[in-house]
């Protein structure tokens, strides 16, 4: 029940296109859903996050859509750029003080120029 499933495993998009990455979770106690961006050899960097009291959050070209009833959330990258090429991880946690993050398997995004 702690799993977070992420798809697709890899994604190739043309410059200017929309990248969409999906995640599904099982544990209804999760109440925080961040997305992390990771470049090769670097640590995960917090990109954007959402709480289940809203269905959408937008920051610049990045949008999270959240469907509580379906237990799914997705990351949309508008106007994708070659510099967005990275691995993206969704994650989830419960609001407890220790609150471990449970990560999805990751999506390797390639944006072709």
């Amino acid at each position: 029940q702690q799993q977070v499933k992420q798809s697709p495993q890899s994604l190739i998009v043309q410059k200017g296109g929309i990248s969409i990455i999906n995640c599904a979770y099982e544990n209804t106690a999760f109440d925080y859903f961040p997305w992390y961006q990771q470049f090769p050899g670097k640590g995960p960097a917090l990109l954007i996050a959402i709480r289940p009291d809203v269905s959408e959050k937008k920051e610049g070209r990045f949008t999270i859509s959240f469907n509580k009833s379906a237990k799914q959330f997705s990351l949309h990258i508008m106007d994708s750029q070659p510099g967005d090429s990275a691995t993206y991880f969704c994650a989830a946690s419960k609001w407890t003080s220790g609150s471990r993050l449970t990560f999805g398997e990751g999506t390797q995004l390639t944006v072709n120029p």
Binding site: Y32, P34, Y36, G41, K42, G43, P44, A45, L46, A49, R51, F89, A91, S93, W95, T96, S97, G98, S99, R100, L101, T102, F103, G104, E105, G106
Partner: protein, 114 residues
Amino acid sequence: EPEVTQTPSHQVTQMGQEVILRCVPISNHLYFYWYRQILGQKVEFLVSFYNNEISEKSEIFDDQFSVERPDGSNFTLKIRSTKLEDSAMYFCASKSGPSSYEQYFGPGTRLTVT
């Protein structure tokens, strides 16, 4: 911008040896974490630490692992007797306080056990 730092960036050790991975969390953050990422796989939680004690640990964090905050700035992960399967990237993360959610990750230490 404050950031989490980790040393060394790469550690090579022989099987059975002890290693200590070091982290300096963001100043004034109160919660500290270790995660690991085996090459090509997802990031996995190891342990969380608050108020000088372990808050939560995963099934990966067995008796071979320990954590310590030896002073006001460092946070360490010790692996007592390394195994080949301990080879991974180890990430330290921190968050500011009990009412915050955001965890900020360091650049990682690549541990290679030969």
